[in-house]
């Protein structure tokens, strides 16, 4: 009896933590509907849809969001390609320099964002490189890359090498084997890495704040607006991104479940 009581308490506690983690999201969604009159958007003043209708009314914010999306897409593609290739190398082969490579991957993941941003700025300043889209993409590719390597490597390690051997025995060339056998079997790892890279990029503030020059991204614009008051459009955009993300994740989980049951 006592043990079951303990489990019950833990169950309630887990829900409590989940609710706590979710509460700011609820606030964000709610205040996207707030018919606020004054500058600050912290007290409830009535329900309205007008911020949804005027979603793109603030030019700077819209531009920042577009920048964020463009940067996220490009850096995700770059990080996924580079990370997948390196993931294959470290997951499959033993080679000179593997230890150094492992260390580099660990360093890329564990270097504080602040240090990464500051050191990249040092490089760009001393190289007189103009800061903007390109430097942000370089930085985002850098911190996403290692995460792609880790997810792809996990998949490669679990791969049965005899499949590829069979393909080669049947006369498939290196490229055909890769395209028809290797890539499809590591695809879940590649996809997970790409999603992670996209999420990291679109969410990043710290590194970006060093290398952005005058280019604004969604998180940077929001932080810049804190002092003058966050417009409700930010809440609406946050809500829409949240909604789309959750829908995609749920759809993905459902299709994965279908695949395993059929």
């Amino acid at each position: 009896m006592r043990t079951r009581l303990g489990d019950k308490a833990l169950y309630l506690y887990t829900w409590l933590i989940i609710l706590w983690l979710a509460s700011p999201i609820a606030v964000m969604i709610l205040f996207g509907f707030n018919d606020k009159q004054s500058k600050s958007n912290t007290s409830w003043q009535g329900f309205t849809f007008k911020w949804y209708q005027q979603l793109f009314a603030i030019d700077g914010l819209t531009e920042a969001l577009v920048n964020s999306l463009v940067i996220a897409v490009i850096s995700t593609v770059l990080a996924t390609v580079l990370g997948t290739l390196l993931g294959l190398a470290v997951g499959r082969y033993r080679f000179r320099g593997k230890g150094v490579t492992d260390f580099l991957i660990f360093a890329a993941i564990s270097t504080p964002e602040l240090v990464m941003g500051a050191s990249l700025l040092s490089l760009f300043v001393s190289g007189n490189a103009p800061r903007g889209h390109t430097t942000i993409i370089i930085a985002h590719t850098l911190f996403s890359l290692a995460f792609v390597v880790v997810t792809v490597r996990a998949r490669v390690v679990g791969l049965d090498p005899s499949l590829e051997e069979a393909a080669r025995d049947l006369g498939a060339g290196t490229w055909t084997t890769f395209r028809l056998v290797t890539l499809p079997s590591i695809m879940p790892g590649v996809a997970a890495g790409a999603m992670l890279a996209f999420a990291l990029s679109i969410d990043d503030y710290v590194v970006t704040s060093f290398v952005n020059g005058s280019t604004q991204t969604f998180p940077l614009w929001i932080v810049g607006a804190v002092k003058v008051g966050i417009p409700p459009q930010v809440n609406v955009m946050g809500t829409l991104i949240f909604g789309i993300g959750v829908l995609l994740a749920v759809a993905n989980a459902i299709s994965a479940r279908r695949k395993t049951t059929h």
Partner: protein, 283 residues
């Protein structure tokens, strides 16, 4: 020919990591040993005075960052372990649902979550404003711009990074080992202390690593929730770089921060008996 395959595969990423990670950190180390200013230019003097000056000037923020990061990490461990434990052992077929719920906040931008948290805690916001209206709280009660708000924000933002690795470690514990412990007449508590807890230590290690480093170096929570009296080292680096253009000092601070964190990680790994830090982190 096949012998070179791994090198061709690794080459592009190697170049990227070398040019944009290794070179910049070396460049930063070299900048931290220069003297001068933006107008007259910087010259390489190999003087370590930047370090001693920076540490002397910002020791308060250094210590504060380590304390806030450390306290937040301990709170996350205490709050997060039971959640990981419950999901790993008791959630049954609803495991993935609970993990998904824990990850919900990640569908909202980090910055936006922190600001929403600020909304919630605002002096006259929906929470405290209402309670003050009811007379439950005194009029001058506030949480924003206090130490509690910053540490609370850090805990809030990084908690899932503590829970997930511990969950992964606990999930791998073979239930037969626990049964064996009961069969040998161990109590629930000693089973936990002597079987489950040691087996989950790699997860605890990864969780602490994944939370302490970003929490200590985080500038956002202090900036948005902390007001002016809770400045952390992250804010100092940003100001020195972006506002004061004092690259040597800023580089020296970043470098010191990284060194302190790395040394901390290695001491911690030794104390925990984790022989190979890389291996533990990779798991």
């Amino acid at each position: 020919m096949r012998r070179w395959t791994p090198y061709w595969l690794a080459l592009p990423a190697w170049l990227w990591l070398a040019i944009f990670l290794v070179v910049p950190i070396v460049a930063m180390a070299s900048v931290s040993l220069t003297t001068g200013n933006l107008i007259d230019g910087f010259s390489q003097t190999f003087s370590v005075s930047n370090y001693s000056d920076a540490i002397a000037k910002y020791s308060t923020q250094f210590v504060r960052s380590l304390v806030y990061g450390g306290v937040a990490t301990v709170i996350m461990l205490v709050l997060g372990y039971p959640v990981a434990y419950w999901i790993a052992f008791k959630a049954g077929h609803r495991k993935s649902m609970f993990l998904f719920l824990l990850l919900l906040p990640f569908f909202v931008s980090f910055v936006l979550r922190t600001i929403s948290w600020g909304f919630l805690l605002a002096d006259d916001g929906i929470l405290f404003g209402t309670l003050k209206g009811w007379g439950v709280l005194p009029e001058d009660f506030h949480v924003l711009a206090t130490t509690v708000a910053v540490i609370g924000g850090l805990v809030y933002n990084f908690l899932p990074f503590m829970i997930l690795p511990i969950y992964v470690a606990l999930e791998r514990v073979d239930p037969r080992v626990i049964e064996a412990s009961y069969d040998l007449y161990a109590s629930r508590f000693s089973t936990f202390r002597r079987v489950v807890l040691p087996l989950s230590l790699p997860g605890v290690f990864a969780g602490v690593l994944m939370t302490f480093v970003p929490a200590t170096a985080d500038p956002i929570n202090a900036q948005i929730l902390g007001g002016t009296s809770n400045t952390m080292i992250g804010n100092i680096v940003q100001t020195e770089y972006m506002v004061n253009s004092n690259y040597p000092t800023a580089s020296a601070i970043s470098f010191t921060l990284m060194a302190v964190l790395l040394i901390g990680i290695f001491i911690y790994a030794r104390a925990l008996g984790t022989e190979n830090v890389l291996e533990a982190a990779a798991r």
